[in-house]
């Protein structure tokens, strides 16, 4: 399951989707909205995705991971829209026969989802807003 959604993510459901009777290990990564960024208070975040492409890019990453490790189940869900601190932005869950592979595969997937998937977030502070990582830090507040 690959899902880009405006609705709150049901973490339990993502984990269940990734589970498998033959698997002994499930690893889940849950990315949540922090209440601080660059020492400023985060009021909310805005996420947007190029949805058609994002799903395809995540599928490529999953295929790579399934090739490197013996994935018995997997699920990725990414939220878009307006998110408040504490809310869940992304969940990646994988199941494997043994635990080491579950950690490695899950980390591979979230690292690549963050690096390659066309999804963007804007941090909205008390005193301004900023597209994350768009510009070098020195120009970030221009």
């Amino acid at each position: 399951m690959i899902k880009i959604t405006e609705k709150a993510i049901d973490v339990q459901k993502v984990i269940e989707t990734a589970s498998n009777l033959g698997a002994g290990a499930v690893n889940a990564f849950i990315g949540t909205v922090r209440n601080k960024a660059k020492d400023k208070n985060v009021v909310w975040l805005e996420y947007e995705a190029y949805e058609a492409m994002a799903v395809g890019e995540i599928r490529k990453i999953i295929d790579e991971a399934a090739h490197k490790w013996d994935l018995m189940g997997w699920a990725v869900s990414h939220r878009i829209g307006t998110l408040k601190p504490g809310e869940v932005a992304v969940v990646v869950a994988v199941s494997t026969a043994h635990r080491k592979a579950s950690f490695e595969a899950c980390q591979y997937i979230i690292d690549n989802v963050k690096a390659k998937t066309p999804i963007w977030k804007k941090e909205v502070f008390d005193d301004g807003e900023e597209w994350v990582d768009a510009r070098p830090v020195a120009n970030a507040n221009n």
Partner: protein, 81 residues
Amino acid sequence: MAMRYTLKTFGITRDILGGKEVAFEMEGVKVSELKSELMLRFPEMKTLNSLFIAVNNTYAEDDLVISESDEIALIPPVSGG
């Protein structure tokens, strides 16, 4: 002959170009030419950490030839998760 492309914008590129889908006319037919022309007309694009072009939902190489019917998207630095 000038080509008329339609550019989908995301993240900071939407703020810079001022629209979700922007008509863009230019003589060039390659991804590299599109990038140069964007930097020329919107100098703020040069301040970004990176800019990729996706054509029909796939990251495109610089020498790819684009056509008016392609789905062309501007991909500024991603920051999901």
